[in-house]
Structures are given as structure tokens and as C-alpha cells.
Subunit: 378 residues, 4 copies
């Protein structure tokens, strides 16, 4: 019988184009051309439109991976999924996490007592511009999530702890295409502002995950609820969108008793923007031991990585008190930095994947955010 | 025998000019013209040079106070000390804290078993431009700190938990004055950049407090150590500077068995920029009960206020990992926001006084910051 | 016969709350309670949401005006129109322009040979939230523009050179109100982003002026053209919107042979973002003499004021070359600063009214902007 | 007899790493490995510390050049000088200008009637950290300027129209080195703030050029005048500094009757920040024909490139009126954008080299800036 053996290696990046950490992993045999399935990272820079750090990182990583795999650059995306989130304001260490999956032989019928990390991937059907941010996208992402679960060997949604999704956004060209065919699009705003196509796409993708996992019943979903009914949300979906894609990509992380991975994943959510308890709960969910209400420092050595969203709240109140975050000229950057601090203040380390850039989201509960943690099993 | 009875009331501000909270305190008799000694607050806005929120707040608060005291605006400063810190990025609720002190009769020889909050004030001798950021300023602030302690009825430095100081900075005019008399000044840079006159003034003031409290021996102080030897610092000094002043102002907060205040103060420091334990220690120092390593939520009702600095570190490493905060275009604003998050994530509330704007400081240990907490006694 | 005598006085502002220039005008009799009709100015600050300079200026100016007119503050708006535009980045001197209008007796039948400045005002009917950014608003602004022209004594649209309009935007509350009545609103985005309610309101107001002046035939107007068909525009409308209002306000500036004003107004447009010729044409239109293709410096003494928009272009190309303005994190602020430079480099002075904050607009031609100039007649 | 034939080709850059324009020049034979002497460009991005666009461009251009020249990357700098200025806010088209120089045979004794473009290069002696920003640097840059003039075949300083200089700045390491040897450094501030090591280095380099060209007599130069006496300045020096270098690099552009170049260079200065006349004068100096006081649009076809500084003024007044540029949070970026507008509004094109980032400078007169123009000869 074949069983997955998933591993994850986190390399700090000295510059956006720094691939030395990956090269060391390759040299030591920890990652191999046939095992590398995803590169997920945070890149240094502003995180805004004028952020060339993310673009440079993308080019440099794809180049390196093409050489590593011995294939042309434009075929890299078929084998390795890239999730690069721009902007490391404050206390977020720029880094790349390499995810590997190999298939190992285990005696038939033998199964671990405990569940370990598995990963699964899938691409969605092509998503038309008129489907972006609407039920069409929701359904196609839901379907792809099911297939990625299947690829991971997961059947119970409770075993799913993190779903990273990339979907198409809208562009001037795709809007023109849609309208020339007599259809409409969800927004003409190509920004990530509150009514921008970017956040509609991200949020439809999140609802697609929620639908697939049964977090939201299909019957309560419609075009009208996207970015309107914040009570509908996923607790495990981290999504992003870009105009250049036509297909969605889904990566599912979960735990399975069929896995031979040395790692375990867990997750939780924060209930509001200052909720450190949500971060602690994510660590606890992944199996970190606690002492006196706090993570046992010795046991934090087992922590491999934390993935967190830092969507800024739609409200100007936290626990009944007024905040002015929404008025800050660079609210998204500050919000991302604050998410980084919330995680770092709990984990005691700054190398955390913290992604932001939206106001309100179906990724996590209203005002709160998703946190997932990967831990080396005891 | 006369004993102090010090109280503190924290009013959120809906706008920079919002004095309605103070007016309510006045209407209810909680603050009286003869008891109001200080207004300490955070004002909404960018916190930069172009921040008119702080200026408007200053004008509005002085106007209100003048009417409240029945004196001309330009005499207000003689009776009430104003400490307004601009910029509430992220999760810092704009607010004004009113500090009152009245003298109540207690039977001679009677003393409380426990120590309670006292406050004391003093002005320093005039500080010449050539003394700014140097030993002249250090000595004059030290002297004023002694007098403020005396005004507070404090003799043991261990009882001092917070010293707020305002000192003169440099201006084009004061530099010209100094140089016309054949003296030199510490810097021609009028900004708060790393070699700016503003931070030299702030840091000499902090060393003055450290000298007064014996945190740093006078023998190790000289012009040359200011902003050079970061091992010399105060754990209780929060300082600011402005070109318009000629005298320093010092407000000391501490605990005394001679006080009839319902409040107690405590403090601690963070050891680095993500050190939530330092914030917890400050709450514990002030008497907040802990349960399972965390502040007991029920007991947090007794928390009146937290005062914290958020000086950004001079290093680009936290616990051995690289951060890019120093490269952020708005590092000071993000750093202030991060300090706000660190405190809020522990106290569960956003109404905290968090002031920043410097890189490296003698206010707190290298890389860390000062946190003081005021609590209603059990 | 009564004839208008309109004057305009421009006062630099040392701070947002500086009313000393107005007070001097009042003391010298240049403005009187019965002649002051409008205060139009630029206020220092960021020009963003967190800009308290504009708010402070608004409060201070209304206070001063109330005292000057001897009426309560909340009645000031009935007599004097305030147009305050926040943000003076770069080379825009903060200032307030006071506009006065008095009625003087002239012998019946006597008329000047030349046309001079007149001003007219009107309020629109109440504009419902569902009308904001749509034909309802367009029609009501058009109607109000006709009434303001009539108040100014103008009948020929060619004599109109500047129409300042303030209209209601949308708020969370007004959207809820509209939707509770079964209607829809133009946008749920309350920002000034490209699909925000603020720019829809501004642009419907501009089309309302264009309709009133015959710049755009009513037959080509519909809900669908707003912020879609940029070939429809006004060359004289400068509009702004705010959620707090229910009625539009219109101020028309033009030239009339029935005026006894010492001033004349003219206007032109820039054809793209670097078109200094458009600024020169506006000065020429108002009667400034040119020498060698440039404004005669001696004659520039007659220039009273320039009013210009600086809407940033929707395209990333200027004259066939790529620019990155749209990617600048603070594109609106930089765009406003650039508009200020374009005007200042022609007029040789920095005290110009330059307002921005939008991307694309029906205020001026695609990629270009409106410029109006007021000049003391020869 | 050998004569220089200098040419200049300006390629817009679609991204920071775009070398397609250079490749086309190479493919067409316009630039050759033995003729390429300098690449001077503006790169897209913020222009701040967190600007990875400039770094990426630098890496990509050196890689391309190494391949083009057939030499290792770390030897590229010996053959080709790179001057990359980060940040294209507003209306500055990102671009790379390639400068070529070849030696052609001309009959002995034959000389052109008119002067044409020449270019010369040299490296300075090593500059020690204690010399940075002081006379040591001034003298070494002056010497190198003389040698670059000689390399260009220029003897009369009047024929020099642009001198681009790169010098070492200070770093933590080089300061430590200097102090360990008992010497001092000009500043401990490693920023480009008003007292930062970066601007001291830039300004000493500018005074070095001024000394070499006789713009400032050596007798009036001393350590004390650097960034103090703004009446001392060069009208042709554009300088930059970086910690990583030990030697200065100088490129001189001028006109010589011994040149066979099809190009001519001219220059002028602006007298203040809004002085469009200074830009026009630079074009006129280079030979652009004017019509009615403005550059003749047809003749602007001959304009190859404009090089301009946009140092922001130290004063908050322009022509007697107050501006708030110095209070803008991003004053350097806005200042650079404004310089771009001033040039573009005169040249009618956005592809101009405009570099900024300092407040006050010895590069150009107080408050004004340097402008040089390269034109194809009639």
C-alpha cells in the first residue's frame, strides 16, 4: 500500500530573489524534483501595486524551480503550486515554505493510530469572467476542493485544516470579453477595494471551500450573499486572485491516519482583531502543549509554521471601543503588520505566513481571521 | 495629616476636539478645577508632521481646561500638564486620561498597610540649546525628577513606576542662538531621525530620570553615551520633546503607603518587540490576578489604564530572525501600531496609551519597551 | 437699476484654523456680513480620510463666520457656501478665498461695454440616496444650475466659466434607507475608489452641469453613461460630495455686461496631465496678456486666483509613453501635487486652488482637467 | 587622428527587469560590446528603502550586460558604468539610456566648426570612511573629475554640461573601521535625512565637481561648509552614494569640436522649485529652437533626453508664499514627482531622467535644481 509522506521546510529569504535556502534543501536531499508540490511564501516589499519584490521573487523562484525540475519555466506551474503573498510589514520575516509529498510503501492494512499531515491539489474547470465573484466560481471551487481532498486522501471535512485557493480575477480585457457576449460582471472596479473584483473573487473562492466542506449549506448561497452576508464563511479557506489566470488552483492540507508524515496540522480562528486566544487555540489544535495557559516554550520547538490571514474588520469598533484603523491611509499594510504581531507575540517567532489586504471577508468569521499551525508530531 | 488621593479617568475621544468626556467628568464632580493635574492622551491622525489632529486636540483641550479652571488659556500650563501623543494607527483607541489629585485629611500617624498611587510634578530649570541632548539636560531632568518625587511624597526609587517628561528640543532659532554664543549643539537635524535633535532630547531626558532613580550611576554618564551606549536606560521614563519649550516638565507616578488613592500602579518592560510577557508582567506588577498564565478576565475590570512606549528596535533581527520593519517607508507608524497590538492582545482592550516615533532609545532596554499599568486596588 | 459687484480675496492660511486673513478683510471693510457669499479654500493636511486639518478648518471657519455674521453656527450655511478641499501636497499654498457680492445702483439702461464677474447660487431639491450617481441627481443638479445662473444674471452658457457643486454622497444609513424602500443604490463602496459612491456622485453632478449648459445633450444621458462614457463631460464643473448632505448646492461664476465687478473670469481645459498649454489658455481666456508665448510677468499682477482640478487619468499612457502613476500607493496625493505644479509653473505662484482625488471624471475631457482663472480687469 | 563618436539611446522599460530595448539596440548594431560605456536609468518602484524594483533592475541589467560583453558579471562594472535611480512617481516613464562611445578616424587637422557631445570616465582613488562628506572626498572627486575631463578630451570647464558621480557612503562596518583607527566620521545617521551620511557624501561629491570646474574656489572649501554654506554649488554635478563602494566613479558629458557625435548637450538650472524657465533654458542651451517663448514642437523631435535633479528646497517658502511640502510624510517622493512634472510640462514627454531624494544640496543653486539636455544636432 502507498502512503503519503508530507514534509514542510521553511527558509528565510535574505532578498526577494534568495533561493539559497531552497538550494540547500535540494543539496541535502530534503526536497527532490519528484516530491516538491508547493512553494508558499511571504516576500519583502510594500505589498502594494508598486511592489516589485513579489514579482521578482516569483520570477526567481520559478527560474530556480525550472532548473531544479529540469523542465521549461512555463511548465513549472503544472508540477508546483506557487503561493506568494507580498508585503512583510513589521515583524513578518520574509520566507519560503517548501511543501513536499512522496509516496512510501507501507504494509497493507497497517494504519497509524494518529493522524498526520496530508496534502492534495487540483485545478478547477475554467472560470469565465461573468462567473467571477458569483455562484459559477463558488461551485467550481467547491468541486475542485472535493477533488483536492480526494487527491489528499481525505473524506471527512473535519480533517481539513487549511485550503489555499488561487482563482482568476477580472481584467479590462476579460470584462470586455464578458460584456461583448451579453453578460455582466460583478464589478468594474479592478482594485482590492471593498467593491473591487479582486475581493469578490477571493470571497467567492472562500464560499466555494465553505460549500465543499459543508461549513455553509449550498441552499444559503447565491450571487447576492457574496460580500453581503458575513455570517457565511469558511474557517480554513485562504484565497487569492489574479487577473492572469483562467483556472482555479486548490491545495488542501489536512490530517489522515493513512499518512506517514512526521507533521500534523491544526487550526482555529480569531474572533476579533486582537484575539490572541485564537492563535493559541490554533497551536493547541495542532498539538502544541500548553503550560499555565501559554504554549510551553520547549514544545514550541516542534512548531514548523503558522498560516494566518489578517483581513481588517469592516467595523470601527473592537469590543465596544472605537478604533481608527479604517481611516489609516495605509490600513491594509498596517492591518497585515498587526496580524503578524498577533501571531508572533504568541509563537515567539517572526517567521509566520500572514497574508492580508482585504476589508471584511468570507475567510473567517466577521472581524476575525483564520489561523492554521503545522507541528512536528511528538 | 494631609494625604494624597489620586484618581485617573479615561475618556474615549470621538474626534480630536472631543471634550465631552471631560465635561461629563466635570459635571459629575469627578474632576474639579482644584484637583485636575494632568491630561494625558492619544490623538487621532497620522502622527507625522502633517498631523493636525494632535494640534487641534491641544487647542481644544487647553480651551476647555481654561474655561473649566476659569483662567486664561496661557495660564493653563501652570496648573495642568498636557501630554498628547499623536497617532492612533491600528488598534489604539483615541482617548484622554484625566489625572486628579486632592488632599484629604487622615488621622495623624495612621498609614495604610498597602501602597497606593501618588503623583508629583515639577518643572526643571531652563535648559539652554547647547544643553539639549547632553549632560546639562540630563542633570536638570534628574534634579527635576527628584523634586517631582518629593512632590509626590516618594523617597524610594523602587516606588516610582512611571515618569513622564517633556523637554525642549532644538529649533532653527535656538541653534542660531547657541552658535552665536560660541557654543555647539548636539545636532543640526531637526527631525526625529536617528541623529535628530528630537531623539537626543528625548534620550537625555530618559537618562536624567535613570540618573535620578539610580538606574544608571552618574559616573557612567557623559555627553558621549547619549544614543551610543544602549545598555544605559530607564525602565520607567517616557519622554518627549518640542522646540517651543525652555523648561522641562516632569510628572512622577508611584505608590506610597501615605496615599488614599483607590488606585495602584505597576510596571515592567518588554525584552524585545514581540514580548507579550513583558506586558503581562506589567499587569501582574500592578496587581492584576492571573489564571493559567493569563490575566484573569474578570479581574481585568480593575484595569484603569496602560501606558506603553513602542520605540522600534535598532536591529533588523528579532530572536535571531530577520525582519524588515526598518525598511518600511512608514516604520514609525507601523511600529506604533504594533505596540498597540501587543498591549491590546494582552489587555483585551484597545484604549491604551501607546507612544512611539523613535528608533532605539534609553527609554527601556535595547529592543524592548516600557509598560506601566494603573489598576483599581482590590 | 441694481447691478452686482463681485469681489474675491485670497488669504494664505498659516494653520488650518487661521482666520486672521479673513479678520483683516473684515476689519478693512473689504468683506461685510451682507456681502460674503462663499469661502473656498485649500486646507493643509494629507487630504486622506485621516486628515483632520480639513475638519478643523471647517469648524474654525464656520465659527468665525458665525461671529462675523452675528448668527448661530448652524445657520451659517444658509448664507455662506463653504468649499474646502483638503490636502496641499507639494507646491499648493493653503489658503481661503472669500467671495463677496454686493448690489450697487447703476443708472437704468447703462451697461458696460465689457463683461465682468458675476456669481449666483442655488440649492437643489432634496436628492434621494437612490438618485445619487444617477439621472435623478443629474436632473436636479441641472435644474439648480439653471437657477444659479439666473441668480447670477446669466442666460448664455458661454458666459459661464466655473460651476462649483456640492452634492450628497451615500452613507451606510442612506443605503439602508434606500434598500428598505425597495430601491437600489449605485454602489456599496463608500470610498472614492473607481467604483465608489463618492465619485459616482461627483460625476453625476458634473453631468448635471454639462446638461444645464448644453455641453452634453440630455438625450445622450442615462444612468448607464455615468463613469462609463468619458466623452461626455463638462468643461466648467468642479464637484464634490459628502454623505452628510441631502441637498445639492451650486455656485456659478461667469461674466456679464451687467456686472460692476472689477474682476473677470475665464477658463480652459488641459488635454492631458502634462498639458501646461491648457493652463496658459485659461489665463489667456481671462485676459492675461502674453508675451512670447508666455504670460507677461508684469501682467500676472492682475491674476487674482486659479481654480483647477487634478483628476488623475484612467490610462497609464501619456502621449504614447507609459507612466506608473496609477501604481503609486498614494496616486491621488501625488496627482494632486502634480496638478499644483502644473499650475504654479505657469502662474509663477503657489497660491492656487487645486483639487483632486479621483481617477477619471466627467469634470473635464478624458485625461485632462478644468482650469479657471479670475483676473482683475485692465 | 581618432575622434569620439558618442551616441545615446533611450529605451522605455515595461518592468524593472526589461532588457528588451537594449537587446533591440544590440541586435540592430546600435550598441556594441566595445562601444557601450554607461547605462543610466530610472526604475519603477517606490524609490524608498523598500524599493526592490531598483535592485531587480540592477541585477537584470548587469546580467544582460555580462552576456552582451561576454564577461563575468563581476567584471561588468569595469567596462560599463551603471547609474540607476529608483522611483518613477507621477509622470516619469521608467527607462534606460544607453551611452556609447566609439573612436572613429578623421583626417588629421580637420575639426568641426561646431562642438558635439563627448563623454569621459574615471575612477577616484579609494575614499576612506573618515573622508566621506569631507575635504578628503571633495579633493578625490575633483581629481577624478579632471581625469574624466581629460578622458573626454575636454579642457575648458565651460564645455562641461553634466557630471554624474557615484561615491561611497558610510555603513555600520565602515564607521566601526574608521573609529577603530581613532578617526571620526561625518555622521552616524545612515539615512538620507538632512544630517545623514548619504547626503553628506552626495554633497561632498558635488563640491568636488564644483572645485574641479572652478565653480567654487578651493580656498572657500572646508569640512565646515558641506551642507552649511548653500551658496557654494555646482551647476552640472548629479551625485549619488552607496555604502558598498570604496572608490568614486565619475562620468563627464560635454561638447568638443573634436567630436564626431551627432549629439549636443546643454544645461541650465532652475532658480526655484516651480521655475519652468530653467527647464526651457536647458533646452535652449542644447540648441532647441524656440517659437513664441516656447520650444518649437517640431524641433522637439531632436530632443534625445533630459537629465534633471529634483532636490526639495530647505525652505518652506517659494516666491514669498508658504508651502507645506516639507511636512508631507512622503516629501521626497512628491518632490521627485514634481520635478518630473516640471520637466514633462516643458518637453511634452514623460521619458525624462529625474532623480531626487534630498533636501537642500550643493547640486544646483539654493532651492533650484540642475537640468541638462541632450539633442540631436541640426
Amino acid at each position: 500500500m502507498k502512503a503519503q509522506r508530507v514534509d514542510m521546510f521553511v527558509c528565510p529569504s535574505a532578498t526577494p530573489a534568495d533561493t539559497s535556502g531552497l538550494q540547500q534543501l535540494a543539496d541535502s536531499g530534503k526536497i527532490r524534483p519528484d516530491t516538491l508540490v508547493a512553494l508558499v511564501g511571504k516576500t519583502e516589499g510594500t505589498g502594494f501595486h508598486d511592489d516589485w519584490g513579489r514579482v521578482w521573487a516569483d520570477v526567481a523562484l520559478r527560474d530556480w524551480t525550472a532548473r531544479f525540475l529540469g523542465i521549461p519555466v512555463d511548465e513549472v506551474a503544472k508540477q508546483v503550486i506557487f503561493v506568494l503573498s507580498g508585503g512583510c510589514p513589521g515583524v513578518i520575516t520574509p520566507h519560503i515554505a517548501a511543501v513536499t509529498r512522496e509516496w512510501v510503501d507501507v504494509p497493507d492494512g497497517e494504519s497509524r493510530g494518529d493522524k498526520r499531515l496530508v496534502v492534495g491539489r487540483s485545478g478547477s474547470e475554467a472560470i469565465a469572467p461573468e462567473e467571477v465573484g458569483r455562484m459559477g466560481m463558488i461551485r467550481k471551487v467547491a468541486e475542485a476542493t472535493h477533488r483536492a481532498m480526494s487527491d489528499a486522501g481525505l473524506t471527512d471535512p473535519k480533517d481539513v485544516h487549511l485550503v489555499m485557493v488561487k482563482v482568476p480575477g477580472l481584467t479590462t480585457a476579460s470584462i470586455r470579453d464578458a460584456e461583448s457576449r451579453g453578460t455582466t460582471v460583478v464589478s468594474h472596479d479592478l482594485t482590492f477595494g471593498p467593491e473591487g473584483a479582486g475581493v469578490y473573487a477571493n470571497d467567492a473562492a472562500a464560499l466555494g471551500v465553505a460549500m465543499a466542506l459543508g461549513e455553509v449549506p449550498e441552499s444559503s448561497l447565491s450571487d447576492d450573499v457574496v460580500r453581503r452576508n458575513w455570517d457565511l464563511y469558511s474557517e480554513v479557506a485562504m484565497t487569492s486572485s489574479g487577473g492572469e489566470k483562467r483556472h482555479g488552483e486548490v491545495v488542501v492540507f489536512g490530517n489522515s491516519s493513512g499518512s506517514q508524515s512526521p507533521l500534523v496540522i491544526g487550526h482555529s480562528v480569531t474572533r476579533d482583531f486582537i484575539d490572541a486566544q485564537g492563535v493559541r487555540d490554533a497551536l493547541r489544535s495542532a498539538g502544541i502543549r500548553f503550560q499555565d495557559g501559554l504554549p510551553d516554550e520547549a514544545d514550541l520547538d516542534r512548531l514548523i509554521h503558522v498560516f494566518a490571514k489578517s483581513v481588517i474588520p469592516g467595523s470601527d469598533q473592537i469590543r465596544g471601543r472605537h478604533i481608527t484603523l479604517l481611516d489609516d491611509a495605509d490600513a491594509y499594510q498596517i492591518g497585515k503588520a498587526l496580524g503578524g504581531m498577533l501571531v508572533a507575540s504568541v509563537t515567539g517567532r517572526t517567521t509566520n505566513y500572514v497574508s492580508g489586504g482585504e476589508r471584511n471577508s468570507h475567510q473567517g468569521p466577521p472581524g476575525g481571521n483564520i489561523v492554521a499551525a503545522v507541528v512536528r508530531a511528538d
